[in-house]
């Protein structure tokens, strides 16, 4: 059962602002999503642990150094930057 408090808490953790008036409808929607996950949970699976569809394991990379990007590229999408750093402004 999803409650209004759950939605408020998830919003807080995700740093999302949720309008008071949207809380009820969001609670209802989230309840439906969780119910759908329950449907999947209830499917009978016959053999042991299901892992991934290709039954893959141990996909590794060798420990060899490759190219990093120039700092200008790295900072290209930063909302703000200063002295080659990402800049996070003090919150008002």
């Amino acid at each position: 059962m999803v409650t209004r408090e759950d939605i408020e808490n998830i919003a807080l953790l995700s740093k999302l602002f949720v309008d008071e008036k949207d809380l009820d409808s969001l609670t209802e929607e989230m309840q439906k999503i969780v119910a759908f996950a329950d449907t999947i949970n209830n499917v009978e699976v016959s053999t042991g642990e299901f892992d991934n569809i290709n039954n893959l394991s141990n996909v590794f990379r060798a420990d060899e150094v490759g190219e990093s990007l120039p700092v200008e590229e790295i900072l290209k999408n930063a909302p703000e930057q200063a002295e080659d750093h990402f800049l996070v402004r003090k919150r008002a």
Partner: protein, 470 residues
Amino acid sequence: MKYELVAGFETHVELQTNTKIFCSCTTKFGGDPNTHCCPVCIGLPGTLPKLNERVVEYAIMAGLATNCEIAEIAKMDRKNYCYPDLPKAYQISQYDKPLCEHGYIQLSNGRRIRILRIHIEEDAGKLIHNHGDTYVDYNRGGVPLIEIVTEPDFRSIDEAKEYVEKLQQIMRYIGVSDCRMQEGSMRCDVNISVRPEGSDKLGTRTEIKNMNSITNIAKAMEYEFERQTELIESGGEVVQETLRYDDATGTTSSMRSKEDAHDYRYFREPDLVTIAVPRDRVKEIQARLPELPEQKFARYTEEYGIPEKDAAQLTKYRSISEYFDKASEGLKSPKTASNFIIGQIFRRLVTEADKESFDIKTTAEQLNELCKLLESGKLKNNLAKTALDKMLDSGKPVTDFVSESDMAGLDDATLTEYCQNAIAAMPAAVADYKSGKEKALMAVLGNVMKQSRGRADAASVTAKLKELIG
């Protein structure tokens, strides 16, 4: 009432791989800000992490060296929290299927500190706070870490200190980390609670975060123990919270936590597949593991008869113990090499860093040669000492400083000559000896040794003197 300290450790150790855990950026310390970064480690959408094989191997090595069981199946999970040091807003870590579990570290007082788990994860970026603004450098973001979590098994600060030192020593021996606390490649969080002595219930604990020296760990634990004890004594209650230790004031203070709730909403990392560790892989890694400090210590003390204090010094750093192992190869008494190392060689290595790097001019093979000459009786002790000093100054072998005649010993004619000289020079001592004072002969012997510059063998000199004096 007497109170008892109860503590547990969570230690982050940076692994010495070439590249980060999920991308091929370098892990080199330092570097200009944001120059060791790529789309993967700054968390750009659409990128995929790919696990560095060596991270898994190093974590298994760390697990084996701390007596852990290695999981057959492990997986990665997302630990969600919003903070600027984490560009994806989640850290890829391990939740319920860590690589290693149920190990321990043995302390010298006979107690064992149980290790609950060792898991692999990515490090976060570095934040520089400046007038309320935050500057973010992601060079460290994605550097591989292992987190070593103990049970709350510590009962004293001395145990905590020994544990951290042992952990450092083991990780350095197996070569997975340099464990430099001042550079942040090893960081400790400590959980502390107190309880009346004799109680088996755990009190409410606080957690002191991110300590970067053994001294600070000890001071912070001391302070927190006192604080909690006084609080309880005065009728108060300990509040579960995360603390920061302030070195300048020597006090702990409450940290504003990263999240208002400790709700990391862990879930399976869908971008990474399962890690399977076949048993033969574990065996293969185990076989490659070097001899651990504890095993070396046992060999030195039990097999070689080296005093514990000396053995502790020899095993403190892998560099020293490896040097000693080579220098003592084939010796009748390995103590010969150990005495030279702890005496004459250590005198030249003043700081701990000097000892750790063990950068000396004389090779282990050269010291071995010197020890063998000494053991065979070809070289007398005082000559060997003088030679070693010259060897350490120059890096040249012992044969450069000791002549053939030094090593040849004395022929009978020369020995007789020296003895006659001594008898002539010391009539009083000779007379004393003749009148029954056995000890008087020592003075005459000393005179012969001096003439021979240490090359003569005391036993044959004594025999010759007795023969001549009659």
